[in-house]
C-alpha cells in the first residue's frame, strides 16, 4: 500500500523525497518546484491598470526611457501578440506587463536572478486597442514605460 501511495505522487512522494529515501526520486527534486503560494493574487485580480500597478510595489512609478518595448503598433491577432521587453535600468529585478483594456490588466511578472538579462520575449493576449505598460522594479523602485497599440482582432475570447 505504501508503494502505491508513492507511485501515485503528490504529498507522499514529497515527504519520501525530503526524508532522502529512494534514490530514484532524486531527479524530481533537482529543481525547486514552482509554487503558487506567493502568486500575486491581488495584482492579478485587479480590474484596472492603476490598481494592478499598486500591487507591484510601493510608490508611483517614474517614467523611464530605459525600458524598451518591442511590439507591433497594429496587432493583427490580439490572441497572440509577440512582445519583447528589455530594461536598461541598473539593478532591474523584475518587470511586469500590463494591458489596460484586458479584463484583468496584469498579464505577467518576470523576475530575474543569477545572471539572467532583464529581458523577456513572449506572446500575450491584448483584448482591444489601448495602452500597454511595462513596470520595472529596480532595487525596490518602480519605473514605467507605455506604448499605445491597436488591435485588428481582439484577443480575450
Amino acid at each position: 500500500m505504501k508503494r502505491r501511495t508513492l507511485l501515485r505522487g503528490g504529498p507522499a512522494v514529497f515527504a519520501a523525497g525530503t526524508l532522502g529515501l529512494p534514490g530514484w526520486l532524486a531527479p524530481v527534486f533537482a529543481q525547486p518546484a514552482p509554487s503558487i503560494a506567493d502568486w500575486n493574487k491581488a495584482g492579478f485580480d485587479a480590474k484596472t491598470a492603476a490598481d494592478a500597478i499598486r500591487h507591484l510595489g510601493s510608490g508611483t512609478p517614474a517614467s523611464s526611457r530605459d525600458i524598451l518595448i518591442e511590439i507591433q503598433d497594429v496587432i493583427e491577432n490580439g490572441a497572440r501578440a509577440r512582445i519583447e521587453v528589455t530594461s536598461r535600468i541598473p539593478g532591474t529585478q523584475a518587470l511586469s506587463i500590463v494591458s489596460d483594456r484586458n479584463p484583468y490588466p496584469l498579464a505577467a511578472t518576470f523576475s530575474f536572478t543569477n545572471g539572467a538579462d532583464p529581458y523577456v520575449s513572449t506572446l500575450i493576449k491584448v483584448a482591444e486597442s489601448g495602452t500597454l505598460r511595462v513596470i520595472v522594479n529596480a532595487e525596490g523602485r518602480l519605473y514605467i514605460a507605455t506604448r499605445d497599440v491597436k488591435t485588428t482582432i481582439g484577443g480575450c475570447g
Partner: protein, 105 residues
C-alpha cells in the same frame, strides 16, 4: 498533464545563452465559449521557473493573458555549453511539468 508538453532549447550566443521554451497549454481565460455555448473554465499556467545549473534565473508569474501554447525567451549570462537549463511550471489546477536541456554550442 497528458494534454501538455514542454519543449526547451538553450543555445550559446555571443555573450549569453538564449533559452527558448514552448509549452503546449490551452491558457483558457474563462471567457471563451465552446461549440455548445458553454463557458470553458479558467485554466492557465500561474508560475514558471527557469534554472541554470539548479539556480533560478527566471521566476515568472503569469495570468490567463499569456497566449495559448505559451512561448518564453530569456537570456542568461555566465552560462556555457554543457550547462544544464531546466524549466518547470505549475497551473491553476495543480498540474506540473518540468523539462531539462543542455546548453548547445
Amino acid at each position: 498533464m497528458a494534454e501538455s508538453t514542454t519543449r526547451i532549447t538553450a543555445r550559446m550566443r555571443q555573450d549569453f545563452v538564449e533559452v527558448r521554451a514552448l509549452i503546449m497549454h490551452p491558457m483558457e481565460t474563462g471567457n471563451r465559449r465552446d461549440a455548445k455555448n458553454q463557458l470553458v473554465p479558467l485554466h492557465f499556467i500561474q508560475r514558471v521557473q527557469i534554472t541554470h545549473n539548479g539556480r533560478v534565473v527566471l521566476d515568472a508569474q503569469w495570468s490567463q493573458a499569456i497566449a495559448r501554447d505559451p512561448f518564453i525567451g530569456v537570456r542568461v549570462r555566465g552560462a556555457k555549453p554543457g550547462d544544464k537549463v531546466a524549466l518547470a511550471w505549475v497551473d491553476n489546477r495543480g498540474a506540473r511539468e518540468s523539462v531539462e536541456t543542455v546548453v548547445a554550442a
